[in-house]
């Protein structure tokens, strides 16, 4: 039984190129303001990694007409706000009481149009140190925290913009010049490279008028050239990293279809049937029946240029990564040979339908309706894809999932990363090359 699941909206592009997308939802007297800039760490260059994210921090330090913390007036208006940077985009959002919508638009438009006069070297250097703290806290001082860094470096060649993580390299962050901020802002932070979504207690006419009022005066810029890059792993690469951990873990990573491309939804579906919940194939085998692993996870990391599929399992005490890998491989081979069974497809579809519905519950914040509309608009060029997105899952078949697994989960085109306790490199998969990341 299928339900109509929709995210109705209206879109208009201002004369300066700013896309405005509006969704009306009057249940709570709040409006979500969500602004995407189509720039992320993929737009950085070697030697200056981490810049897009550091720049995001600077966006909260003041602009010409409000030369002080971005948080203060908004917090005082009862807003919740945040921002984030990933490889593909940078987003900023506020959820405000309807009565403070114009304040939020004023603030966002001021930093889009007039950021540079307020930026000082001192603010730049303080935020660089804050980011170095963030890096230590979330990567260096966290068990398995360097895994994604090692995997990205093995999956993507040095010139590829997914070779580095968004947080950047310490040396690069230290080497950044205050002067670099100016060019970056001019290139990427202008209406033609941005998309504004408003969702909540507002109608389209009012929203377009307010967007035009606050953002219409900001001069347009040139749309940055799309980034293009190819990557492949032509063989099985085995690497090992020592870390401050108790239990060894093996990561397996494959290149997989880009976000929204053919096979992307199938990869999502086989991630679930392999490792989501006790009923999944790998949990059942590794953790429930054989008890040789304490956890297993699988995830399709969907991204704009290309995705990667990541599977990870942590060894139970005394168990070997070799045995775990052999069992995982056996289960993957079975999936590639036979495909899913009907029950697994039904389960996957039920979960997809429910989760799309759950996604309609919040207007703002990370993953709320305004964020989803911007994701479709920026990464597909059209916000009208909510139903189409779900349709990708509804139209997947046993055969299409089997074929995707067969195509993408090849044993001879993957990276195997062993993370082992310090001084115990012997616990890694045989033939693993030691790597260092910092």
């Amino acid at each position: 039984m299928s339900t109509a699941i929709e995210l109705p909206h209206a879109k208009r592009t201002l004369a300066n190129g700013l896309d405005v997308v509006v969704h009306e939802d009057r249940r709570v007297p709040i409006v979500a303001v969500n602004l995407w800039y189509h720039v992320g760490s993929k737009n950085e260059r070697t030697g200056r990694t981490g810049f897009a994210h550091l720049f995001e921090h600077l966006m909260f330090e003041g602009s010409e007409h409000h030369n002080g913390s971005f948080f203060k007036p908004l917090q005082e208006a009862g807003a919740l706000l945040n921002g984030s940077t990933n490889a593909d985009r940078t987003n900023y959002w506020e959820v405000v009481p309807t009565s403070a919508l114009e304040l939020a638009l004023w603030m966002e438009s001021d930093r889009m149009g007039y950021l540079l006069p307020a930026l000082t070297r001192e603010r730049f250097e303080t935020q660089r140190d804050v980011v170095l703290n963030e890096r230590r806290q979330n990567y260096e001082n966290r068990p398995y925290g360097m895994a994604l860094m090692a995997l990205s470096e093995a999956l993507f060649p040095p010139h590829h913009p997914y070779h580095w993580l968004t947080i950047g390299a310490v040396d690069d962050l230290r080497a950044m010049e205050f002067e670099d901020v100016r060019a970056f802002f001019r290139t990427y932070y202008h209406p033609a490279n941005a998309s504004l979504a408003l969702a909540g207690d507002i109608d389209a006419g009012e929203a377009f008028a307010l967007a035009d009022k606050y953002f219409g005066e900001i001069p347009s810029g040139d749309k940055p050239r799309p980034v293009e890059a190819d990557a492949s792993v032509p063989r099985e690469v085995r690497i090992v990293l020592e870390d401050r951990v108790e239990l060894p873990r093996v990561y397996m990573a494959w290149h997989s279809p880009a976000m929204f491309a053919d096979g992307d939804a199938e990869a999502d579906l086989f991630a679930d049937l392999l490792a989501n919940g006790k009923t999944s194939r790998l949990y059942r085998t590794l953790v429930y029946d054989k008890r040789i692993a304490v956890d297993v996870s699988a995830y399709q990391h969907s991204r704009e240029l290309s995705s990667f599929f990541l599977l990870a399992a942590t060894a139970a005490p005394g168990q070997s990564l070799t045995d775990i890998t052999a069992l995982v491989d056996e289960r993957i081979q079975h999936l590639a040979d036979e495909g899913p069974v009907d029950e697994e497809m039904e389960r996957g579809l039920a979960q997809a339908e429910a989760h799309f519905m759950y996604r309609l519950q919040t207007v703002g914040g990370f993953g709320g309706k305004s964020d989803q509309l911007n994701a479709y608009n920026v990464l597909r060029g059209n916000p009208d894809f909510f139903a189409g997105d779900l349709e990708r899952y509804r139209s997947a078949t046993r055969e299409s999932v089997r074929d995707a697994a067969r195509t993408y989960l090849a044993f001879d085109r993957r990276v195997l990363l062993s993370i082992v306790p310090r001084g115990q490199a012997a616990l890694a998969l045989p033939g693993s090359e030691p790597v260092t990341v910092s």
Binding site: H66, P97, A100, W106, V363
Partner: protein
């Protein structure tokens, strides 16, 4: 029309918001049911809150409540653990368990059309779990393995050690997961008995929130739970941790869990402070918002925006039925460890005396607490959680509507008074999880007394 950029526009008057109307019911078996109509998205959340959380763990059996809660989705009737997981997945359900200090809460969210099946499944899981020995042993082993992994996670190490320093042997003084020693001692029989004593209708409140009329929500609850006949034998029920008075902390004021070569120091600073039923709840919220409860607050501005010692710092009350802590939580650059502690204590002192809250700080804190309040009522999960909190802390149904005026009525004088009454830097405990060699000397110089070096397991 040109935008006036001379200053940001002031927000208009706060919009009207109607807080959810709560209907109260009691089933024949004594189960309290609260229903809330939440139209919009066809989703229903059922939240079952049971008296008895980690504070109900007997001494030496820390982890019992959590282990019992974990056994709930390990099989019921003819369904194995795998079958339960499969049944939940087929409903597209989101199932969540939370073991708090005073209660355990099970939450199940489904599409409205599956709400009846979801509630029936939840009822089977909660009221007649299989409690098989093989599942018990597997879950215990996974928890022991998890504990082993947590030894490398600085926030987890800090939480465990800090609770111990604050509470000593009080029943609140441990993490829900328990310890290696206590988990090894636990028996399935103890879990079964704990389940029998605490999973009873009279100790429970079921909150149903969704896009259905009250009557339909109640009917779903009734169909699922009216046959639940847990015995109400108070003799087996665990004592309420909230009634136990904590003894004075005796472990000194400065402690360190060594983590050689750590990139940062994980910090906890604070002391036991207030019960949730304090009449000073609203002034304490305002006081905390000014001190460190939000981005624009004294301690975050000092440690992050001025000194760049950290990615962020927050202060807060961990509200419990009994006495709960006020604490500062952060992770700072190793070289800034001692200075961060000193700055934090200084900010606490200042708010109590020589730098009381300014009118600007008052209005910022009050506005940020109240103006955004309605956004906490967007999803069925949020509403179910808020309504469950009323049951947890015995608050009236009018609580939501009264929150905003109460917070707005707080005065500067009250903030100073509660800062003096509930915060005391002279008895605050500072805990560091970090590199001993790199921090020891500067920590000694803080004047907080002897540095107590704790074992790595906390």
């Amino acid at each position: 029309m040109a935008v006036d950029r001379s200053r940001p526009p002031s927000p208009g008057p706060d919009p009207q918001f109607h807080f959810p109307q709560i209907a109260r019911h009691t089933l024949r078996n004594g189960l309290k049911v609260r229903t809330v109509e939440h139209p919009g998205v066809p989703v229903v959340t059922a939240a079952m809150q049971l008296d008895g959380g980690l504070g109900a763990d007997p001494p030496g059996r820390e982890g019992l409540a959590s282990m019992t809660a974990d056994m709930v989705d390990e099989g019921t009737g003819s369904l194995s653990a795998i079958d339960v997981s499969d049944a939940l997945a087929r409903l597209g359900a989101e199932y969540d368990v939370e073991v708090g200090a005073d209660i355990t809460m099970f939450t199940l969210t489904t599409l409205t059309r599956f709400a009846g099946r979801g509630a029936a499944l939840l009822s089977d899981m909660l009221t007649v779990p299989s409690m098989r020995a093989s599942d018990f042993e597997r879950i215990r082993q996974l928890r022991l393995d998890r504990l082993r992994q947590l030894k490398d996670l600085p926030p987890a190490v800090a939480e465990r050690a800090f609770l111990r320093l604050l509470y000593a042997s009080h029943p609140y003084g441990h993490l829900a997961i328990g310890s290696d020693a206590s988990l090894r001692e636990l028996t399935l029989d103890e879990v079964v008995r704990f389940h029998k004593a605490t999973f009873v209708p009279r100790r429970a409140t079921l909150v149903m929130v969704g896009a259905l009329p009250h009557a339909d929500l109640l009917a779903i609850a009734g169909d699922a739970f009216e046959r639940w006949n847990g015995e109400d034998s108070t003799s087996d029920a665990p004592p309420a941790a909230a009634d136990v008075a904590p003894s004075a902390a005796s472990g000194g004021r400065l402690a360190l869990v060594p983590r050689e070569g750590a990139a940062q120091s994980e910090l906890r600073i604070g002391h036991l402070s207030a019960r949730r039923d304090t009449p000073d709840y609203a002034p304490l919220l305002v006081m905390n918002a000014i001190l460190g409860g939000q981005f624009i607050s004294r301690i975050n501005l000092k440690l992050r925006e001025e000194k760049a010692f950290t990615y962020g710092v927050r202060t807060g009350f961990d509200w419990r039925r009994g006495l709960g802590p006020f604490s500062v939580q952060t992770s700072v650059h190793t070289a800034a460890t001692a200075e961060s502690i000193a700055d934090t204590l200084q900010e606490i002192s200042a708010l109590r005396g020589d730098r009381p809250a300014t009118p600007q700080e008052m209005s910022l804190a009050q506005a940020s607490l109240t103006r955004g309040y309605p956004r906490n009522f967007e999803t069925t999960q949020q509403v179910a959680r808020s309504v469950s909190q009323l049951a947890l802390f015995d608050l009236p149904d009018s609580y939501f509507a009264e929150f905003v005026p109460k917070v707005n009525a707080v005065t500067v004088g009250e903030v100073t008074r509660v800062a003096r009454t509930y915060l005391d830097p002279s008895r605050a405990i500072a805990l560091v999880v970090g590199d001993r060699k790199a921090t020891e000397e500067s920590l000694d110089a803080l004047g907080l007394g002897e540095l107590h070096v704790l074992p790595p397991t906390g």
